[in-house]
C-alpha cells in the first residue's frame, strides 16, 4: 500500500462550530494528518509552517474563522496577510504554493473540514513528492535537535 502524504493541520480552536466536527478532528483524524491546535490563526507564526515543512510535511492545512467571526476580533486578519504572503514566499524559494491550503470556515460549514482534508490529500498524492526543504534531521537519526 502506498504511503499517504504527511499533512500538518493547524486548527484554530474556535473555527469548528459543530461539536461533531471537533470531535472527529480530535479523535478520528487519519494517522498521516498531524493536528496542531492553536488558540487562533493569529498564533501561527510562519516559523511553525516552516518547521512543519522542514520536518517533512508534504502539505500544510490552516483552518480558521472567517473575518468578523474571529473569537479575538482580528487575529485571522493578521494571520491571513502574513500566512498568504509566506506561502507565496515559500514558493519563491522552491516549495510549491499548492501545498499550503487555507480553509476559512463559517457557521454553516458542517462537515466541510473532512471533505477539505480528503480533497487536499488527493491533490497532494498527485503532485511529485516535495523534499526540497525537508532538511531537518530527527533526533534519533543524529540530528542536532528535535
Amino acid at each position: 500500500m502506498e504511503q499517504k502524504p504527511k499533512i500538518a493541520f493547524f486548527q484554530c480552536q474556535w473555527c469548528l462550530y459543530a461539536p461533531e466536527d471537533q470531535e472527529w478532528v480530535d479523535t478520528q483524524l487519519p494517522v498521516n494528518i498531524h493536528l496542531i491546535k492553536v488558540p487562533c490563526t493569529g498564533r501561527i507564526d510562519p516559523l511553525f509552517i516552516l518547521n512543519a515543512v522542514q520536518g517533512g510535511a508534504e502539505g500544510v492545512v490552516i483552518s480558521g474563522c472567517l473575518p468578523e467571526k474571529c473569537h479575538f476580533k482580528e487575529g485571522n486578519l493578521a494571520a491571513r496577510r502574513q500566512l498568504a504572503e509566506f506561502s507565496s514566499f515559500l514558493d519563491y524559494v522552491g516549495y510549491d504554493q499548492e501545498r499550503v491550503r487555507f480553509v476559512w470556515l463559517d457557521l454553516q460549514d458542517r462537515g466541510r473540514i473532512q471533505r477539505e482534508l480528503a480533497e487536499f490529500e488527493r491533490k497532494l498524492s498527485k503532485l511529485t513528492p516535495a523534499k526540497t526543504l525537508a532538511t531537518r534531521i530527527s533526533l534519533n537519526e543524529g540530528g542536532a535537535n528535535d
Binding site: N51, E68, R80, R81, L90, Y92, G94, Y95, T135, A144
Partner: protein, 322 residues
Amino acid sequence: MTELENQIRTEAERLLREGLVDVVVAFRKEDAPLRPQPAFFTRVEDLENLVYDGLCANNLANYLTRFPDETRVGMLVRGCENRSVNALVVEKQHSRENLTLIGIPCTGIIDWRKVVEHTGEDIFGYEDSPDTLTVRARHQTYQLPRQELLHPSCQRCIHPNPLSADILLGEPLPEGDPALIRERVESFEALTRAERSAYFKLEAERCIRCYACREACPMCYCEECFVDHNSPRWTESGTSPAGTHAWHIIRAFHQTGRCTSCGACERACPMDIQMTYLTDKLGKDMWDTYQFETGLDHKTQPPFAAFTLDDKKHFQAGGAQS
C-alpha cells in the same frame, strides 16, 4: 576635503554648538583604506575626523535604536537611511522630534571588494569624485569608473534623495527606475521551481551563521532574535541545511514591508551571499498587494501591522491568494 564634507562638518558643528543635538552619527576616517567607519560625535573638536565619500558602506539608521528616546540624535542620512529611519520611527524606536536628519543625495555606495578585485594590490589611499574613483596603490594609481564599482543594491536604487531630511545638503539627484528591482524579481520568478530552489540552496548553504547581516540591518533590532532563542529552539542553530535555510527564509520574511532595500546585509556578508533577491520579492509583493513602500513617511504602518476588515474580500474558500 570635498565641498560636501565641508558642508556636513559645518552643519554638524552648528548642531552641536547650539545644543540642538546630543550626538551626531556620521562616518570617521579609519587607518584601513577603503573602510570609513561609523562614528558618534559628541564634541565639536572631534568633527575634524568626520569624512563622507562613496565608501561609507554602513546604514547609519542601524545605530538609532542604541539611543534612548530622549537622546537628541543628529544623523547623516542618504536616501535609504532616511527611509530606514522613517520605518523605525513608525515602529516607535525613536521619536521624530528628537531627531535631526542631515540629508545627502547619494550617488551610490562603492563596493570595496570590487575595488580590491580591480587593483589586486595593496591600497594606500583613494579619492572619490562624481565619475571616477582614484585609487593609490603600491605600484601605480588607478582611475576606476565609479558606476561599475557601485554595490548592486545601489545600482538598482529608486530613491537616492533623502525624503524627509531636516537639512538637505547638495543637489537632489534624479529618481531611479523602479523597474530594475522588479525585473530582477520577475526574472527569478520566471525560473522553474527546481531552479529557484537550487539557487536558494546554493546561496543559503554557504552561510556560516555569523549574523553579520542581522547586525548590519537597521530593522533587525530585536533584543532576542528567533535564532538565539533556545527554549524552545525554533530552528537548528548550526550550519546544517535546515538551519541556514530557516535563517535566510525567516530573516527575509521578518523584513516584509520593513526592508528599504539598502543592501547593508549583503555588504556585511563575509560569504558574499545574495539576500536582496528575497527581500525585494517581499517588497514587490507588498507594493502589488497593498500599494505600500517602506519608509516614504513616518506615519504609515506596514501592511502586516495594518490589517483591516476590508481584507474580507480577499478571503477565499480554500485559496491562499488574495
